[in-house]
């Protein structure tokens, strides 16, 4: 019996190739998407769980109030780890993890190497197996270095390197460090990723200075006793903190905050495994791969959409196809089959199809995985599939899809009455509301995603192309942190000797923020930029009032600042020129505003322009050179800059970036979203079209006789095409009417995330509508034209 079912099914599939291909292609794409997302979700869920003791590991985090708002911070400092571990009984041990970089000498070359400073307990708290060396002692000696497999290969070409030495820069000298251990590569689902570990060191003074309670710059992890209660430990931590730090806190409030006390803040513990997907307390500061759970939701949503649409296709096509199979069903019933057997037969067929689709999907997954990894920022591999749980889930996915797609058609088909089917009295025409609403649903989803894609593309375009208020073309950024003003000026003068170098504008490295009192004694926060007089002209930043810093005015360096328009607005100044800014915590250093800079986007466009202040204060460090070069002189200029850099700073690593490329990097996350939604939309519309195509084929088949009669009566080809396409286009139009308002709401909501955004335009929706209708029309008319040019005599005779 089973064999017979199988044979019929197989022959049926091979004989109706279009139908089978449509079904298998759609389903396998749907399944492949679902599989990828399962892989992704599994990886997200398993993040950091490979550590043996992970359920007892927590990160020390804080909740504090600043300027009236609460925020949580995952960072801590020198003291939290050792002092809590010593004074709170529930805490077994601690490890501090600080990210950093060191310059590393390899022959003549000097490279900058990212690394982590960790306490010697690192390998007892976390499970990172070693290839060589002793886990408990490898980080105890000061000049020890632990390499990862990759780093060992990078620097020595092999992993068997315990006992060898490497030259690392300490202060200004290169000092030998002894390799004490080599660790296996960190699993990709780990928040802690390291190539190089160095022992964490603190001076006696730092360890004793109670002020360090308030200096946050690293992550502290603690291991709790297995039977300690989290709540109790947290309470004890807080109690100890208040006892230990109150005095220092009060002194600090007096000194820096004018006695404005907003509370000492609260310590609590975050489970280690919660970090990865936490939006409030994410993995950062040396911890990597932090992930927004939103990605999981959106990806899963899209995958579900696609799988759903593929299943809808399957149901639709199978039922539409059943007209052809009605005869077989009638015959089978007449010669002795009962309904149950027929249901089994059709379920079996859908499972066969699903099985083929499943096999294809596995193949597809293997094929798409690199692209997907790139999109999702992961290094997933096919071998993950051999995990028992995941294999189980995939099997479940297969069964569910088979049932979902096969059960309804099986139920409908097996219910046909033999007399009706055998005497051609059978008519599936009916209203077919289900089929039609499924088509509408598909196209509504597809249209929604197309509109979303268009919106995201426009917004992305806006973010990357909009005028930032400064000219970022032909500007090379070179970093050399920690330079004094006069050092920077010498280097600048040397660069300017080359006629290809138009201007050099040094500024501070990175983003600095600080606070000061403005005239009416209120404290204001702002971005703090240290620049020289070249900065504004080099970047073509406009001044709206007053003047720029000037060499001819030596007092500018010590007395003057520039502010931007946002600063003026926030300060509420009517006549900003001549107003004073008071750095009260620096013994009331006072500066005069000499000019107002037009607001420019000094931070990425996904943040609003905030108050900004420019100074030339000589004691500040500079660290970043904006070097404006002549257009077309890139190769020569870069060679020249590099040569000069090596000459001036032989012990520092050199790297450069074009400022306008930096801008693309700022929007990496947007770029990723753009791609994800784009792929989702393409797949959805593709599968929807496959389904529509299938239905139009069947509809044309069903209406062969009608078309024949119409042609005999004198209908032209275009008449017939219109007749056949009209109904489908109607459905697609309804889908659009449903999709547009929802898409409008959703995209509008998304755009609210951006302080600078495009406005939603009617043409965007018009383009989407035309696109969807066009795609649908092409899909449908392809078959309609074919049916319309068929010879009517042939179709009528077979009736």
């Amino acid at each position: 019996m089973l064999k017979s079912y199988f044979i019929t099914a197989w022959r049926y599939l091979t004989r109706h190739k279009t139908y089978s291909i449509i079904n298998v292609a759609g389903l396998s794409i749907g399944l492949a998407c679902a599989m990828l997302i399962l892989l992704y979700v599994k990886d997200e869920v398993s993040f950091d769980k490979f550590h043996k003791n992970v359920n007892n590991v927590y990160r020390i985090v804080t909740l504090s109030k600043f300027n009236g708002t609460y925020h949580k911070d995952g960072n801590t400092g020198f003291l939290q780890g050792p002092r809590f571990a010593k004074n709170v009984p529930g805490i077994q041990s601690y490890v501090r993890v600080q990210s950093g970089a060191a310059d590393l000498q390899n022959g003549q070359e000097i490279q900058s190497q990212d690394l982590l400073y960790v306490d010697s307990s690192f390998f007892s708290v976390f499970t990172f197996p070693l290839l060589g060396g002793n886990a408990s002692t490898c980080l105890t000696e000061p000049h020890s270095i632990v390499l990862s497999e990759d780093a060992a290969i990078k620097h020595f070409g092999k992993t068997d390197v315990v006992g060898k030495t490497m030259m690392l820069k300490e202060d200004s000298l290169f000092v030998p460090f002894k390799v004490t251990a080599v660790a296996k590569k960190c699993p990709q689902n780990s928040s802690i990723q390291f190539e190089v570990l160095l022992p964490f060191r603190e001076s006696e003074m730092d360890a004793k200075n109670t002020d360090n309670w308030f200096n946050f710059f690293l992550n502290t992890f603690v291991v709790l006793n297995p039977n300690a209660k989290l709540q109790t430990v947290e309470n004890q931590m807080q109690a100890f903190y208040v006892r230990d730090a109150s005095k220092a806190y009060k002194a600090m409030v007096e000194k820096y905050l004018n006695g404005y006390d907003e509370g000492m803040g609260t310590y609590f513990l975050q489970p280690f495994t919660d970090m990865h997907m936490s939006t409030e307390l994410p993995s950062q500061n040396g911890l990597q791969n932090a992930s927004n759970p939103m990605y999981s939701y959106i990806l899963s949503g899209i995958a579900l959409f696609i799988l759903l649409i593929a299943c809808i296709n399957f149901v639709n096509l199978t039922i539409a196809r059943s007209l052809k199979r009605a005869k077989e069903i009638g015959v089978r019933k007449v010669i002795g089959s009962n309904r149950k057997q027929l249901i089994f037969q059709f379920l079996g067929e859908s499972f066969l199809l699903c099985f083929i689709a499943f096999a294809m999907a596995l193949f597809l997954v293997e094929l798409i995985l690199p692209v997907f990894n790139n999109l999702s920022n992961k290094a997933l591999s096919f071998s993950y599939l051999f995990d028992a749980k995941l294999t189980g889930t995939y099997l479940a996915l297969f069964l569910v899809t088979g049932l979902l797609a096969g059960f309804y058609p099986a139920l409908v088909l097996s219910g046909y009455k033999p007399v009706e089917t055998l005497y051609s009295r059978f008519n599936l025409a009916g209203k077919n509301y289900l089929q039609k609403s499924l088509v509408v649903l598909q196209f509504a989803l597809a249209s929604f995603l197309i509109i979303a894609t268009l919106t995201i593309y426009s917004q992305f375009n806006f973010l990357t192309k909009t005028d930032l208020g400064f000219d970022d073309r032909n500007i090379v950024e070179v970093r050399k942190p920690g330079l004094k003003f006069h050092e920077a000026e010498t280097f600048k003068a040397e660069l300017l000797k080359n006629p290809n170098i138009v201007d050099v504008a040094p500024k501070n490295d990175g983003f600095w923020g600080t606070a000061a009192k403005i005239s009416n004694d209120s404290v204001m926060q702002f971005a703090y930029e240290t620049v020289d007089e070249s900065y504004l002209p080099a970047l073509k930043i406009q001044l709206v009032q007053g003047r720029n810093f000037s060499k001819s005015n030596p007092s500018d360096a010590t007395n003057s600042v520039l502010v931007n328009e946002a600063f003026v607005k926030k300060a509420g100044w009517k006549n900003p020129i001549g107003e004073t800014v008071n750095f009260y915590y620096l013994d009331n250093e006072k500066y005069q505003v000499i000019g107002v800079v037009k607001d420019y986007h000094f931070v990425a466009l996904n943040q609003k322009i905030g108050p900004q202040l420019f100074t030339m204060k000589p004691s500040n460090n500079l660290g970043l050179f904006n070097i404006k070069i002549k257009p077309g002189s890139e190769t020569e200029s870069l060679r020249f800059i590099q040569a000069k850099f090596k000459e001036f700073f032989p012990l520092s690593p050199y790297s450069y970036i074009f400022k306008n490329e930096q801008r693309i990097k700022d929007y990496e996350s947007e770029a990723k979203w753009k791609q994800i939604i784009f792929f989702g939309a393409v797949l959805t519309i593709f599968i929807s079209c496959i389904g529509l195509f299938g239905l139009s084929v069947l509809s044309a088949e069903k209406r062969t006789k009608e078309i024949g009669i119409r042609k005999v009566l004198g209908a032209s080809v275009s008449n017939v095409v219109a007749t056949l396409s009209k109904d489908f286009l109607m459905l697609v139009s309804i889908a659009l009417i449903i999709a547009i308002p929802i898409a409008w709401l959703a995209t509008d909501k998304w755009l609210q995330n951006y302080p600078y955004r495009i406005s939603l335009n009617w043409w965007l929706f018009a383009v989407a509508c035309i696109l969807v209708l066009l795609i649908a029309l092409v899909t449908v008319s392809f078959q309609a034209v074919k049916a319309a040019i068929d010879n009517p005599v042939k179709s009528l005779r077979t009736e």
Partner: protein
């Protein structure tokens, strides 16, 4: 074997009752070969379908082999016709995806007959119908006459007591038609299979032992 009493069947069309069968009384004994004649639309197929229990009727009594069909439930009814009735259709109604062999075998599959028995029964019938050489072909590869031969073979394979044939020669040329009618005659006389056929053709009707004329759903006396 078959006893129809006052059978009425109608459909409602625009508020009117249109009778398909009107007061049919018919008695068929085992071993009879009955031809039902009548013009298109006279109700021949409907009557066959009622006898074959594929179609329901509005009023009347129908006893088949002593069982009151009008009182049976759908399931019991289909059980009854599956085990006793074989159908032959004008359009053959073979399953295109199955070979000749598999088409004939299918009814036996539904009756859960084991493999070796099935093979023997099908081989026997292929042999008897002289279609052994065609057993691996698919229906579209056969001529109309050959397809109908397979149709008859399939109807017979489960050893029914009754064969219902609805215009079995309607799609065939006269020579093919004659062969099928000869086959029916032989089955009727040698195997004692009861046959009821609907036909347009006087000549084919003459193969039967009794002719019933239908007009507008009524048996003409």
């Amino acid at each position: 074997m078959i006893d129809l009493k006052h059978i009425n069947k109608w459909v409602n069309s625009g508020g009117n009752r249109v009778f398909l069968l009107r007061d049919i009384n018919l008695n068929v004994n085992e071993g009879e070969f009955i031809s039902i004649m009548g013009p298109s639309g006279s109700g021949k197929s409907t009557l066959l379908n009622v006898i074959g229990m594929l179609d329901e009727f509005g009023e009347g009594e129908y006893n088949f082999l002593g069982q009151p069909v009008h009182q049976l439930k759908e399931k019991q009814r289909s059980q009854l016709y599956k085990s006793h009735i074989g159908f032959v259709f004008q359009a053959y109604h073979l399953i295109d995806e199955l070979t000749v062999y598999e088409n004939i075998e299918t009814p036996l599959l539904y009756q859960n007959i084991n493999t070796s028995n099935r093979r023997a029964i099908v081989a026997d019938i292929l042999d008897r119908f002289n279609i052994v050489g065609k057993k691996d072909l698919f229906p579209p590869q056969l001529s109309g006459g050959q397809q109908q031969l397979v149709g008859v073979a399939r109807a017979l394979v489960a050893k029914p007591k009754l064969i219902l044939a609805d215009e079995p020669t309607g799609n065939l040329n006269s020579k093919q038609g004659e062969e099928i009618m000869e086959l029916f005659k032989q089955l009727n006389s040698e195997d004692r299979v009861t046959i009821i056929q609907a036909t347009h053709s006087e000549r084919n009707a003459a193969y039967g032992s009794k002719i019933i004329n239908l007009l507008d759903g009524r048996i003409e006396k």
